[in-house]
Symmetry: C2
Subunit: 354 residues, 2 copies
């Protein structure tokens, strides 16, 4: 397969998937030219703003070939960019993938499986693959995912508009992806039939299911697209960020951009019992994972007190939890545990730390 055969192959996939999704989701904005030209051309509706996000995944830094699977990687590459668009309160619409592969991977089943995972998620949200680039690499796989989103004019939810008094919320549960990564580092691997296990795990489902659940939270994160859209369209979030670096770091980012402080209540941070139980047996601290563990891809957002009652209980089966309050900048960023209050230092992921 040469590079141009490959482009035609991906173009065929993209065309067939676009047909599948267009019957489910109606969009007015249109794709005028996509894969197979020098650039993709899109026309936004009048009254829409355009959002662009990019995420680079590098083998042996952001993922390991022998602890994930190509289809999970295809999913994750797109999911992390969907999460960025969701964190702006916007709808993902179009995607581009730049992929660099060593020659032996190019000639393997990797590519087909990668795009299977990619298109499974893209189709679910009616997102079209409209372009990309391909290169060889000497040895490692690199993937750059680019997602273009849309929102109504002026409705993008920035990091910079939280105000003192706003209530701080997160979607879902924290620390699970970090727990999954720790398990992988200690040798855990996905069960070959993980897909056939029930999605809703309970204590009775057994430790094997719990482990797969945590591994998948790291290997196949679910972007909170539904929550992002709801919060943006209804102007319920004053500021928002996705938790990619870790709650502590991302709260610092949001607070720095908004020029505010924050107080988090440790007892309110949502930690699933799966994390608590597995951590207990493995000498890991669930609160540390929830505070500083990265890649949960949950949304961290702020809501005016008068709007709190307008939040739905769940979106796409995912709940939200109030974990604290935005304070004046002079307050700093603090966390309380019972009567104790201390500074919450950013402890999340930094590619170049140390």
């Amino acid at each position: 397969m040469n590079e141009f055969d490959f482009i035609n192959k991906v173009r065929g996939w993209a065309a067939s998937r676009a047909g599948a999704s267009s019957s489910l989701i109606t969009h007015h904005s249109s794709l005028l030219a996509g894969i197979g030209d020098d650039a993709a051309v899109v026309r936004a509706d009048s009254g829409k703003d355009i959002l662009v996000s990019t995420d680079l995944l590098v083998e042996d830094i952001d993922f390991c070939r022998d602890t994930t699977r190509p289809e999970l990687l295809g999913h994750k590459a797109l999911a992390v960019s969907f999460s960025d668009i969701a964190a702006m309160g916007a709808r993902p619409r179009w995607a581009l993938i730049a992929i660099g592969l060593p020659k032996e991977i190019w000639n393997s089943e990797f590519v087909d499986s990668f795009y299977d995972g990619f298109f499974e998620l893209a189709t679910r949200y009616g997102v079209q693959l409209i372009g990309g680039d391909t290169s060889r690499t000497p040895e490692k796989i690199v993937i750059d995912s680019i997602v273009i989103g849309e929102c109504s004019t002026g409705r993008a939810v920035l990091r910079s508009s939280a105000e003192p008094g706003d209530q701080i919320f997160v979607t879902g549960f924290l620390g699970e992806a970090a727990a999954g990564l720790r398990l992988i580092e200690r040798g855990a691997r996905l069960h070959p039939q993980f897909e056939q296990q029930p999605d809703d795990l309970d204590a009775q489902a057994g430790e094997r299911h719990s482990i797969d659940h945590l591994l998948l939270r790291h290997l196949r994160p679910e972007p909170r697209v539904g929550w992002g859209l709801l919060l943006g369209q209804n102007q319920l979030a004053t500021a928002m960020i996705d938790i990619s670096d870790g709650l502590s770091s991302d709260l610092h980012h949001l607070s720095a951009e908004s020029k505010v402080g924050a107080l988090i209540d440790a007892s309110r941070i949502p930690i699933d019992h799966v994390v608590t139980e597995l951590c207990g047996r493995r000498a890991l601290d669930p609160l540390m994972l929830a505070l500083h563990g990265g890649e949960d891809f949950e949304l961290l957002f702020t809501v005016r007190p008068e709007d709190v009652a307008k939040l739905p209980t769940r979106v796409d089966g995912v709940s939200v939890t109030r974990i604290g309050e935005i304070k004046e900048s002079s307050h700093g960023i603090k966390i309380s545990e019972g009567a104790r209050v201390w500074d919450l230092e950013p402890g999340g992921w930094d590619h170049f730390k140390g």
Copy 2:
């Protein structure tokens, strides 16, 4: 420097450069959020289409650290994406850079020099850096450049709309970048003071200048932004592609998309005497370089016969040359040299060839 210091540093550069360019070039479309949020937000003018292009550059495949310089790499990463946008007849407006660096490079002067080269070109065209991503890599540098362009509604020039009878043109001269690459492969390096040499080289300027000129055509390609815009805005090009893989390959791409054939006149292909002379001394064939050598980043475009007289002689000092004619699909893609006519096989760059 940690990752967030870095983001703030680049944000500072981007803000200062945006100010510098805004006095020169007036745009109506606006940037609503850029570096420092989850995604960049832009608002296109009504009546504008949005174009997105991405190009991946991988160390030791697309460039070598010891034969280029960081500022040239910063220029080239952006230039290749500008070239894609130019080939759509559109104006580049915004850029994102995803960059993966090994730790020792991160802590060197590489980053500053890279962005010097990047911003020099960006500022020249009033393009704003609005986002990106950063990752560590185990060993090699990888760069993904993303450029967002704009054109008037429906004016994007696709590859797919050439018609039989259209005249085929190229900008500038061909084969120079490939000649430069061959020289690098044979050990040639840029003179330390290459910047102080005259840009317009003639036979008297000496071989040293000629070599630097060819090396720079490979290491610091100039995207034909002015020509692209003129051809698009005035609807003079029926189809267009940039010559990144090589004239033969890119003519095949354009012809395949347009479902047409083509006849090229070998004697009309613009080859500068610098290439002819240096090739003669080094047993290289200038015509082979011009036909199959990649990375010239000139524009290959087609013009209706009645519009040929409307083409200006030069744009930004760059001329155009008519090299052939679009034929019916059944004609195939051929090249004539005097009385001989033969099939022009695609011979350009393929990352996964062989």
